[in-house]
């Protein structure tokens, strides 16, 4: 099963080395990892999506990560109401003849065209992983040149921030 963890860490050089070193050393199965600044300048928030067989394995992931000195707090967002998003940028072949079809698809998915030239179109889409997967599937008909996706980021609903959970 997949779990989503919000990991609050010190905003210092070397922290990502420690996180990735631990994941590699303990052979954890990480699906995605996304890091960025937060409302506090000295804190970085990393959203980790991890695939484990059971809760005991998940407990190991959380406990081992918690042992890292740089890790301030870990919140499991799997069981709380949370919004999850990924961002994808996709470059697709688009000729005169099929460009309007492409625009239709983009609208259906509420994606956004962010660059156009004679042969290609670049599209931006945010959403849950499954939505992006579905969109990419449809775009296959047009011919995908390249895809770049961020890892998942997640935010709980309601007024309480992860740092206070």
């Amino acid at each position: 099963m997949k779990y989503t963890l919000a990991v609050l860490v010190e905003n210092r050089p070397g922290v990502l080395t420690h996180i990735s070193g631990l994941i590699s050393r303990r052979a954890f199965n990480i699906e995605s990892i996304a890091a960025g600044y937060t409302e506090e300048t000295d804190t970085t928030r990393i959203t980790i999506s991890v695939e484990v067989d059971n809760e005991v394995e998940l407990e190991q992931v959380v406990n081992q990560l918690s042992k890292l000195i740089d890790v301030i707090k870990i919140v499991n967002l799997t069981y709380v109401e949370a919004i999850e998003r990924e961002l994808a940028l996709i470059k697709v072949k688009a000729s005169k003849t099929n460009r309007s079809d492409l625009v239709n698809v983009v609208e259906i998915f509420r994606a956004k065209i962010i660059d156009v030239n004679r042969e290609t179109v670049a599209i931006e889409l945010t959403g849950e992983e499954s939505k992006i997967d579905a969109f990419c599937e449809v775009l296959l008909d047009f011919g995908i040149i390249e895809i770049v996706r961020t890892g998942k980021i997640a935010l709980s609903r309601g007024p309480i921030p992860a740092k206070e959970m």
Partner: protein, 567 residues
């Protein structure tokens, strides 16, 4: 009070503030300023002959005393030579601070001369590590490094310091306190869980206590002894837990696991409650996890939450420092009288007594020449079981664990988790330096001794009266044994051919040497060595085909041991 000084001087001031008595190290280009500061401050420093020797010496010092060991190496190869020692300390939770030099800040990442990414390399084998690029960060980092190394579950911390930092002048002020948001060592846990543990013990029909290195590290052997005095519960130790209970304590069943005693292994298989104290259920203990303690409820005492359910599923966890949980457990169990406790498990202890009979001396094969086990037994007797014993890794290590009658905690220093050959001599050096009045005996093999034999020179320099006992069987014994047992006696590259004269080697380095070839010389040679004032190496020729037994073949069940005379 602020003082203007060099970063290098500040490092020394930090060491002084942390109460460091001695550092082990090896100089080099990027730590020259630091060595100059050591010189000017006349700070105690031991020059080993290899950085690996320095880190193992700091480790031996730490294990023998409970203090934090400190070693210094230069950048690049100096730092990479520490790696094995850092990993050794990490696996056995030894408090250590390793200071390494790093190239200038502007040169980092440019493949500069003697540059290595020490932070990257040491990340998976340290409790924490730092790269210091600004001199203003240095005092805080040093303070945090010592704090992290010695608190909670101890471990090694690397402080990689750029030469620019060592050379920079700044206003030094050592912080009084440490504030690390992500690190609050667990001390007191949930008191209810301790009570539940006591209730489980009382309810059990066939309980056993499994003692781990955590008892040694937390210096709680007195509490452990009290627990056993009250309850009379049978107990066995991991390799790292030896010494916490005296070997002759009637409840002590010796070591458990691959080369564990018959009684310890059988009781693991049949117990209905296993109380693990400061253990991590290593595979050398559990063998096949699914067959480990199959009928037992497992109660796990540990300071590290990540140890619970890592290898073995615990039914009850008691998280916290053993210095908190063990006294509390003693309080709870003392509500029942010692007689009541013993009456409750009388049938069980009788059964264990039977197993104990079977084990005695069953593991000795009939071979000619000096029996290696006898060497350990005789040394144990001649030292009144009261020396600090250090080993390397291999057959001699297991025989030491089996045959030396350990009486005290911190009296057995050995590389358990990583199994580092070459650990012994430098670790013995560190131990002897910290305990000048103790007899320190190193048991090693003809394989292991060669892995850090250069430290004989350091031992001679310092005149440390270490008794180095080499069990020379002219093979890499444990490898040889496995090849004999599981690889059709194809002894692939496991013989040392016997061209090395270890006595001459010792003498060439300034250490006295003795060789023993005949059984009747053994005791007098050991006596002679133990009474010599300085360091001595005793090379004892033993047969090459002696196996360490009992043995649980890898992946086998603990009750399917090979005993002496059965193979």
């Amino acid at each position: 009070m602020n003082l203007e000084m060099l970063g290098a001087q500040a490092v020394i001031e930090c060491l002084k503030a942390e109460g460091v008595e001695v550092v082990f190290g090896y100089p080099g280009g990027h730590v020259l300023t630091l060595y100059d500061a050591l010189y000017k401050a006349d700070f105690p420093h031991v020059l080993t002959r290899h950085e690996q020797g320095a880190v193992h010496a700091a480790d031996g010092y730490a294990r023998a005393t409970g203090k934090t060991g400190v070693c210094i190496a230069t950048s690049g190869p100096g730092a990479t030579n520490l790696i094995t020692g850092i990993a050794t300390a990490y696996m056995d939770s030894v408090p250590l601070v390793a200071i390494t030099g790093q190239v200038g800040v502007a040169a980092i990442g440019k493949d500069a001369f003697q540059e290595a990414d020490v932070r990257g390399i040491t990340t998976p084998i340290t409790k924490h590590n730092y790269l210091v690029k600004k001199v203003q960060d240095l005092p805080r980092v040093m303070k945090e490094a010592f704090y992290i190394a010695r608190t909670g579950r101890p471990g090694p911390v690397v402080v990689d310091i750029s030469r620019d930092v060592l050379n920079a002048v700044f206003d030094f002020e050592y912080p009084d306190t440490v504030m690390i948001r992500g690190y609050t060592p667990l001390i007191n846990g949930d008191a209810d869980s301790v009570q539940l543990a006591a209730e489980s013990l009382a309810a059990a029909k066939r309980p056993v206590i499994f003692i781990g290195g955590g008892v040694n590290l937390s210096d709680t052997s007195a509490e452990l002894r009290k627990l056993i005095e009250i309850t009379g519960l049978p107990a066995f130790s991991s390799l790292m837990g030896l010494g916490c209970l005296p070997a002759d304590c009637p409840e002590h069943l010796g070591m458990v696991g691959m080369h564990g005693t018959y009684a310890a292994n059988m009781s693991t298989m049949e117990c209905d409650l296993l109380l693990g104290i400061g253990v991590r259920f290593d595979d050398r203990v559990t063998s096949l996890i699914k067959d480990f303690a199959p009928h037992a409820k497992i109660v796990h005492f540990d300071i590290d939450p990540a140890e619970v359910n890592k290898n073995v599923r615990a039914h009850l966890r008691v998280l916290g420092d053993l210095r908190w949980s063990l006294p509390l457990l003693c309080q709870h169990v003392s509500l029942r009288s010692p007689r009541e406790w013993r009456a409750g498990i009388a049938e069980w202890t009788e059964r264990i007594e039977m197993w104990k009979q079977k084990n005695s001396a069953a593991s000795r094969q009939t071979t000619v020449g000096i029996k290696p086990q006898t060497v350990i037994e005789e040394t144990s007797r001649l030292t009144q079981n009261n020396s600090v014993i250090v080993t390397d890794v291999g057959q001699h290590q297991m025989w030491t664990a089996q045959y030396y009658q350990f009486q005290r905690p911190r009296s057995f220093l050995t590389s358990g988790g990583l199994g580092t050959m070459g650990y012994g001599l430098p670790a013995a050096l560190g131990a002897q330096l910290s305990l000048p009045d103790k007899t320190v005996v190193l048991f090693t093999g003809d394989g292991s001794i060669m892995m850090n034999c250069q430290e004989l020179a350091t031992v001679a320099d310092l005149g440390l009266p270490i008794k180095i006992i080499v069990l020379n069987n002219q093979v890499l014994g444990m490898v040889n044994q496995w090849q004999r047992m599981f690889y059709g006696r194809r002894y692939s590259h496991s013989t040392t051919k016997g061209h090395t004269d270890l006595v001459k080697l010792a003498e060439a380095m300034g250490v006295a040497g003795l060789r023993v070839t005949e059984p009747e010389q053994l005791v007098s040679a050991l006596e002679q060595a133990l009474h010599m004032p300085g360091p001595v190496l005793v090379e004892i020729m033993v047969p090459s085909d002696e196996d360490v037994l009992p043995m649980v073949p890898p992946g086998g069940r603990l009750d399917k041991m090979l005993l002496g005379g059965e193979n």
